[in-house]
């Protein structure tokens, strides 16, 4: 007890002794705020579980997700096959466990590609304004003008189906909103006195944008990306469903619902199990995003 007290005292100190202590105290307050939101914590737990399941997939899955067993096809839920088996006798539970890796792979790659592109284009455009802003924003407009799924479809059709091409297609269609958000934030920040002040210290545009503007844009961007994760999962599943994402026999959840569609009347578990997995993970990201918004929103400074 006294040791917890001491930690808390150290974290909430009025006069931190190092930059690390100051940052830790700030993180602690944010975390405390976040933990107050039960639903967001619930979302975070599901996502943590997803990551653990993906990491330990070989130990969790009872069967090989790719091994077919025609004798055992279309078996209902049982102790041997928790979620039943599919039309070629593969264990659905094992396929969903291995499929979590593909899901994480897609959202991870999309976030890594789309977020930096969006924030760089947005902040540069917002900070410089004028001609640079016009050019960058018209390019953004062009990407925004394409219907998202159609552009992704066209891209996958041109590059050939496959999970990597689906990721590229989704990333290309999802950065423009991030650029817009980052630009909007930058425009409200750039005329602030603290930006004038750092300009008067002699800082160049690169230092101002990366060190002073980006940290203030990142929080609203993280919230937006987390909320978009659900959409990304659904788009990836949609591409899989249309046969343009992950290719059989890889255990991608969208592709699984697609093949399950043919058996929906008599063998409901084929489509219900991967469908539920998509639903639960999307919901978890939405809950987490809402919770993060309350903690990170720069307008509600704690």
């Amino acid at each position: 007890m006294s040791s917890t007290r001491r930690w808390q005292h150290w974290l909430l100190s009025d006069s931190p002794a190092s930059p690390f202590q100051a940052a830790a105290g700030r993180t602690y307050l944010g975390l405390a705020e976040f933990l107050k939101n039960r639903l967001a914590v619930f979302g975070l737990l599901i996502i943590a579980a997803l990551i653990l399941i993906a990491f330990f997939a070989p130990y969790i899955a009872p069967c090989d997700p790719l091994v077919t067993n025609l004798v055992n096809r279309l078996q209902p839920l049982s102790a041997a096959h928790y979620f039943g088996t599919d039309e070629v006798g593969r264990d659905i539970f094992s396929r969903i466990v291995w499929g979590s890796r593909l899901t994480l792979y897609v959202i991870g790659l999309v976030a890594i590609i789309a977020a930096p592109v969006g924030i760089i284009i947005g902040t540069v455009s917002g900070y410089f304004g004028g001609l640079i802003d016009t050019i960058l924003m018209r390019i953004t407009d062009i990407f925004l003008a394409f219907p998202k799924l159609i552009l992704a479809l066209a891209f996958v059709a041109a590059l050939g189906p496959g999970i990597e091409n689906a990721v590229i297609a989704i990333a290309i269609t999802s950065w423009p909103p991030y650029a817009r958000i980052a630009r909007g934030e930058t425009i409200t920040i750039r005329n602030g006195d603290f930006i004038k002040a750092i300009r008067l210290q002699g800082a160049g545009p690169i230092r101002i944008i990366t060190g002073h503007i980006m940290p203030l844009c990142i929080s609203s961007l993280i919230v937006r990306i987390t909320l978009d994760m659900a959409g990304i999962i659904l788009t990836a599943a949609g591409l899989g469903f249309l046969g343009l994402g992950a290719q059989p026999p890889s255990p991608e959840w969208g592709a699984m619902t697609s093949t399950g569609r043919a058996y929906i009347i008599d063998h409901w578990w084929l489509i219900t199990m991967p469908g539920t997995a998509i639903f639960v993970v999307s919901l978890a990201f939405n809950l987490l995003g809402d919770g993060l918004r309350e903690v990170l929103d720069p307008k509600s400074d704690n």
């Binding site: 210290q201 800082a203 230092r207 400074d301």
Partner: protein, 257 residues
């Protein structure tokens, strides 16, 4: 030290055209404290922003040490001229600690010894080491303004531009900050330009004063002239009455200029 000649500032075009500063000239000597006074919208802050290089639409001549300034300023300029802003709540980055705010300047100019410099300058503005790693939201208005002054001083400038440095603070803190600025200016032999709407503050701080109204010069005074009441323009006299506090009878007699 600093000379401003025939300074004009024009914002906007066509119907939106705003001639914000009209033909303003003044000279500030080495170590002198100069005051720019006027009501809101008189163009006094605009003049300061032109000198600092924050506004690029000016015409005329600005010289420092006989060197004429262009619209684009070299990095070395910022080691010579620094500014303190009006609003201490807006002039510090909300996500940077005091330490980071101050070190940023040292890093930009590759001065080295960042830790030593930060501790030294914080002591100089009367903030102890316990403030060093705080975020701005953990500081009061007066403490924030001290940090802003420390940030201006850490580059060891020769000229300090003060844009109403106390008008956002409460009255009890104003005097503290003004005294601090006066002590530092004396100790470092700084040349300073103070912009204010308050003639009382300016007469306390400055050796020479320029009164402005609607972008134009009204009159130039020395501090002694102001104290002895040797004022030629009625506008200046009215400002002086206004700075003495609220008086119903006096305000009823005010005229618009």
């Amino acid at each position: 030290m600093l000379q401003v000649d025939n300074l004009h500032v024009i914002f906007g075009h066509g119907l939106d055209l705003n001639h914000a500063v009209k033909n303003v000239s003044f000279t500030v000597g080495q170590g002198e404290s100069f005051g720019l006074v006027g009501e809101s919208g008189s163009g006094k802050s605009t003049v300061l922003n032109c000198i600092a290089g924050l506004i690029n639409t000016w015409q005329g001549e600005i010289e420092i040490d006989g060197e004429r300034l262009s619209h684009r300023r070299p990095k070395s300029f910022y080691r010579k001229v620094q500014m303190v802003f009006q609003d201490p709540y807006g002039s510090l980055h909300p996500r940077h600690t005091v330490d980071r705010t101050l070190k940023e300047s040292v890093n930009i100019h590759h001065l080295g010894d960042a830790n030593l410099r930060v501790v030294k300058v914080l002591g100089e503005v009367g903030l102890g080491p316990q403030f060093r790693f705080r975020y701005p939201h953990q500081l009061s208005g007066g403490q924030r303004q001290r940090v802003a002054i420390a940030r201006a001083l850490i580059l060891e400038p020769e000229i300090l531009l003060l844009d109403e440095p106390t008008s956002a603070l409460d009255v009890s803190i104003q005097a503290e900050i003004l005294n601090l600025l006066q002590d530092i200016s004396k100790k470092r032999n700084l040349t300073s330009i103070l912009v204010s709407h308050d003639l009382a503050v300016v007469s306390h701080m400055c050796d020479n004063i320029l009164v402005m109204s609607q972008g134009a010069t009204v009159e130039a005074l020395s501090c002694d002239q102001l104290r002895s009441g040797d004022i030629k323009q009625r506008y200046t006299r009215q400002l002086l009455v206004a700075s003495k506090g609220y008086d119903r009878a006096a305000i009823d007699q005010f005229q618009d200029y």
